[in-house]
Symmetry: C2
DNA sequence: TAAGTCATGTAAAAAGTTACATGATTCT
DNA sequence: AGAATCATGTAACTTTTTACATGACTTA
């Protein structure tokens, strides 16, 4: 052991996201950036300014290689492929313990202080968000129909990529449905409060 | 207009989270840090190293003030209170349009490549996460029972802080329940695949 | 006596976003 | 003629995390 590589370069989540795409097919940096504009697995996105350096890091670690493809009429491109080492690293990583990170949501910080808000404005906010989440839900449902039509029972073959895509899509659908549901609940509660015509607006009895 | 303050210092989400706590009661930096170790509204946390500078920024903007409380037997502390300007800023912010930020989840990146994984290891991962989310769910349900017992119908008075806490708690409960459900679905799918004894493990037909 | 709580800060590192930079071709 | 797509990068900035720093008192 040369004692040089065992303090191995740590790969970040973004790196594994890229490996995950390259494990399915070779792609250029531009293609990867395009795919990651819409979040991969519905829950991770990145800009090209992050992707190009990350690809360089992965290449330095020997997890990807690239070949330059010359094109007439448009700029040359580097097409990246995952290496055996890359596939092995990815395979190991996907079953490593995943500590649940604290989720951040702007909206929940707003909700935490919604008691101070103008009710009409708040209702508008939550109804608007409900609509947007329902819109996304509809789009995801369409994608589900498409993937089911195209792959059929193949989405149940857990050793194929279609299953993995299907699984993350299911989570996306669930997430949007529930988020919309919560926004609707919130709006209704605020509407009920409005109709009820509550006592005094600035309130006491603090709570955590 | 002095033309100096209209390019107002932009307050970040963390700032509003702190204002949200201070709108309920005055607190020291230490208290705020303690509360934000567990995420406020279940969806935002911060370290003290972020909180102290943020409080300084809020003070500079005139949104909070503090008084020094001398204590024997323990270090003096600065107790921060929200100002009228702070309350107004918070009140405005909570109904401002909230663009839905792309969510990030490590686990979904792993799931996206689960088709490469050792099934046993993957099952263990998802069952473990399912347990953890169920654990959190149980804890949140207890908190709901406690808040309902303590505040009764008050949780429905939308102009009181109890309602806001209750609303975010509901979202937390929903989130943990659904996440656990999804992990369970995933584990079952992998278990079914294992029993089925699938064909070849390295697969073709790439999918987005 | 060692670890934990109370209490407040600064510094450095990591990750992510926005802006800068260039240039040919194709679509409206 | 202007905008969009293809294609790859660098630089600056913002936000968050981890580590450094200090010190008294309390609990195991």
């Amino acid at each position: 052991m040369s004692g040089e590589e065992d303090e191995a370069l740590r790969i970040r989540t973004l790196g594994y996201a890229l490996l995950g795409l390259l494990a399915r097919r070779p792609l250029s940096g531009y293609d990867l950036a395009r795919q990651m504009k819409e979040p991969i697995g519905y829950f991770w996105h990145a800009h090209h300014s992050q992707i190009y350096p990350e690809l360089a890091a992965l290449a330095a670690a020997g997890l990807v290689t690239h070949e330059v493809i010359q094109q007439r009429d448009r700029p040359d491109k580097k097409v990246f492929s995952i290496t055996e080492a890359g596939r092995a690293a990815l395979r190991r990583w996907v079953t490593e313990p995943a500590p649940i990170p604290p989720d951040r949501s702007d909206l929940m910080v707003k909700a935490f202080s919604v008691w101070l808000a103008d009710p009409e404005a708040a209702i508008a906010l939550y109804r608007g968000l409900e609509r947007e989440h329902l819109r996304r839900l509809a789009s995801y449902e369409e994608q589900r129909a498409a993937i089911e039509a195209r792959h059929g029972t193949d989405v149940w073959r857990v050793s194929g990529p279609a299953f993995a895509s299907y699984a993350t899509l299911r989570r996306g659908i669930q997430y949007e449905r529930e988020y919309a549901e919560w926004c609707g609940w919130m709006a209704e509660a605020l509407e009920r409060g409005r109709r009820g015509g509550e006592a005094d607006s600035q309130s006491e009895r603090p709570v955590n």
